[in-house]
């Protein structure tokens, strides 16, 4: 069944101690798109991610994935319906190797009974082999095949960022939420990331991106949604957003006033 909206949030709200971190936010993400959510620090972008991915339950509003209501479903159940994500502060399995990290990403496609696992039956061996091959493919896709057997904790920061994406990709999601993948990356790594995000979208996976690197956002996004103070401010293409006076003010307003104050003084 085809949908023109794969992920939809309808007037989502969540409050922490009376403060509405996300306030009646609605987004509609078309399938196969790169959909970015931007906004100044504290705008509620990561909180919105946490609500959509089931880490927090919303106070009000609903989330629909591929036409089905998934509001308040736990992350593990959303994962099984094809929604995966990465984290702003890395959440890798640091004591496992890069390959094992990605193999965990295959978990929802694995089916072995505990008894068979204890006895290491041929079915488990075959399953391990399949998981391993699939994981190696995904590692190659993000350029980490040479690091497969290194412990995750020993990898450089940029590689860890890609490893998190590989791990999420391994679960074969319909929708992939990327939370600040370029944070802390140098320009070369960011360029590589741009190409990776594009290739993920071209393979049919919808990408929802939270990112502070504006050049990357403007470069890679099909649509951009702007949040300010937990509320939706604007939505459109990169061009529309860049020329939207409200967005410019939200981002640059303070600087403008400082500059004008200096000009006057």
């Amino acid at each position: 069944m085809a949908h023109d909206v794969i992920l939809e949030a309808r007037s989502l709200s969540i409050a922490f101690g009376g403060v509405r971190a996300v306030n009646e936010v609605s987004v509609s993400v078309p399938p196969g798109a790169v959909f970015s959510i931007i906004g100044p620090n504290g705008a509620g972008k990561t909180t919105l991610f946490n609500v959509i991915s089931g880490v927090y339950a919303p106070l009000e509003g609903s989330v629909r994935l591929a036409g089905e209501d998934v509001t308040g479903l736990a992350p593990e159940h959303l994962a099984r319906r094809g929604l995966s994500r990465t984290f702003q502060n890395l959440q890798l399995f640091s004591r496992m190797t890069a390959l094992e990290n990605v193999m965990v990403g295959r978990h929802r496609h694995e089916s072995t009974g505990t008894l068979a696992e204890l006895l290491h039956l041929p079915s488990v061996r075959r399953q391990n082999q399949r998981t391993r091959e699939a994981a190696l493919d995904v590692l190659a896709r993000v350029g980490l095949e040479a690091e497969a057997d290194r412990p995750a904790a020993s990898l450089p920061y940029g590689a860890l960022k890609r490893l998190e994406i590989a791990r999420a990709l391994a679960s074969e999601p319909m929708v992939l939420l990327l939370d600040e993948p370029a944070a802390g990356c140098n320009p070369v790594e960011t360029q590589g990331l741009r190409n990776l995000i594009r290739s993920i979208a071209e393979s049919g996976v919808t990408v929802v991106l939270v990112e502070h690197d504006m050049r990357l956002v403007m470069n890679v996004s099909d649509r951009i949604h702007v949040l300010v103070g937990g509320r939706s401010l604007a939505e459109g293409t990169a061009q529309e957003i860049q020329s939207n006076p409200a967005v410019v003010e939200a981002y640059l307003g303070i600087d403008h006033s400082r500059e004008s104050a200096r000009a006057v003084g």
């Binding site: 593990e76 994500r85 984290f87 959440q91 978990h107 072995t112």
Partner: protein, 313 residues
């Protein structure tokens, strides 16, 4: 070819322990050493199970001796009052422990860190109290005697016989543990240890996985408890006491969290040391405490992981 070598490598620690088990008796001057050896293997078996829970899934239990108690009293009470054979008592104890772990684990495994530690501690104390108070069945604080194990008409008795029976059981337990670690469930458990939220967004049902490993580790402890009772021929509620639980945790931590071979080493240290300290008599526990503290200060990661690190750097 590479896969086959890796498979063999995966079980290399088991082969090493097997070699030691076979060669060790050549150095034994008396039957007493078989007795110590059998005790090491029995406690190592329980420690391997607890390590699956603590070292791999990252969930602490300060009440695991409760399951030792269930296993021990199953082979004591079963044959004495219910007329079941001892070997079936082992099975019944394991099934009962699994059921208890399933029922108790569901609510308490939602807790984390210190809260889980205290909840499991409470569970262990509860079992010990029941074993003390139900004197009609258990003989109360004085305990009860345990009839000998008979397998296919073969009467299992004597320290040397138990040495081999316990060794084979330990090796089997190690193989099963290594199998589990290398399986999808094993990877999911290790993932839970490092980041629960990341495991969840990849579809790992963490509550179910934690419960599975809690049940498995309870069965390990139960079987060890049954062996201990059958081996000693007598059992008291001390087997389920808080100190026993702490001892099991110390074995796992001392040998190395997340190292199956480490649990065997940890059990060996904590079973053998008190025997060598008997000369110190009144200061036995003091010396033991000091040794544990010294290990934690200088080898925080545990004996076996520290050794592996020296060899690779």
């Amino acid at each position: 070819m590479i896969v086959r070598l890796a498979m063999r490598y995966r079980l290399a620690p088991v082969a090493l322990v097997a070699a030691i088990v076979i060669l060790l008796p050549l150095l034994f001057p008396s039957a007493y050493y078989y007795r110590v050896g059998a005790l090491v293997f029995i406690f190592a078996f329980a420690a391997v199970g607890l390590n699956l829970l603590m070292g791999f899934a990252g969930q602490v239990s300060l009440g695991h001796a409760g399951f030792l108690g269930v296993g021990a009293y199953a082979v004591a009470i079963g044959p004495a009052y219910l007329g079941i054979p001892s070997w079936f008592g082992i099975v019944a104890g394991a099934v009962l422990s699994a059921l208890i772990a399933f029922v108790v684990g569901r609510p308490i495994l939602r807790l984390k860190g210190h809260y889980l530690a205290v909840a499991t501690l409470g569970f262990g104390v509860l079992i010990a109290i029941v074993l003390s108070n139900e004197a009609g069945w258990t003989g109360g604080p004085d305990g009860m005697s345990v009839s000998r194990l008979v397998l296919f008409g073969w009467r299992v008795s004597g320290a040397d016989t138990w040495y081999w029976v316990a060794a084979v059981t330990l090796l089997t337990g190690m193989v099963l543990a290594y199998n589990l670690i290398g399986s999808p469930t094993g990877r999911a458990l290790r993932a839970i240890h490092d980041s629960e939220v990341a495991a969840r967004v990849l579809g790992v049902e963490i509550a179910r996985k934690k419960l599975t490993i809690f049940v498995i580790s309870a069965v390990y402890a139960s079987v060890a408890g049954s062996y201990l009772a059958l081996f000693n021929g007598h059992i008291t509620p001390d087997v389920a006491g808080f100190l026993r639980s702490v001892e099991l945790v110390a074995m796992v931590v001392l040998g190395g969290m997340g190292s199956i071979a480490g649990s065997v080493v940890g059990a060996a240290v904590l079973v053998v040391l008190p025997q060598t300290f008997t000369a110190l008599h009144d200061y036995e526990h003091l010396a033991l405490g000091l040794v544990i503290m010294a290990f934690m200060i200088f080898l925080r990661q545990g004996i076996v992981p520290a050794m592996v690190q020296w060899r690779t750097t």
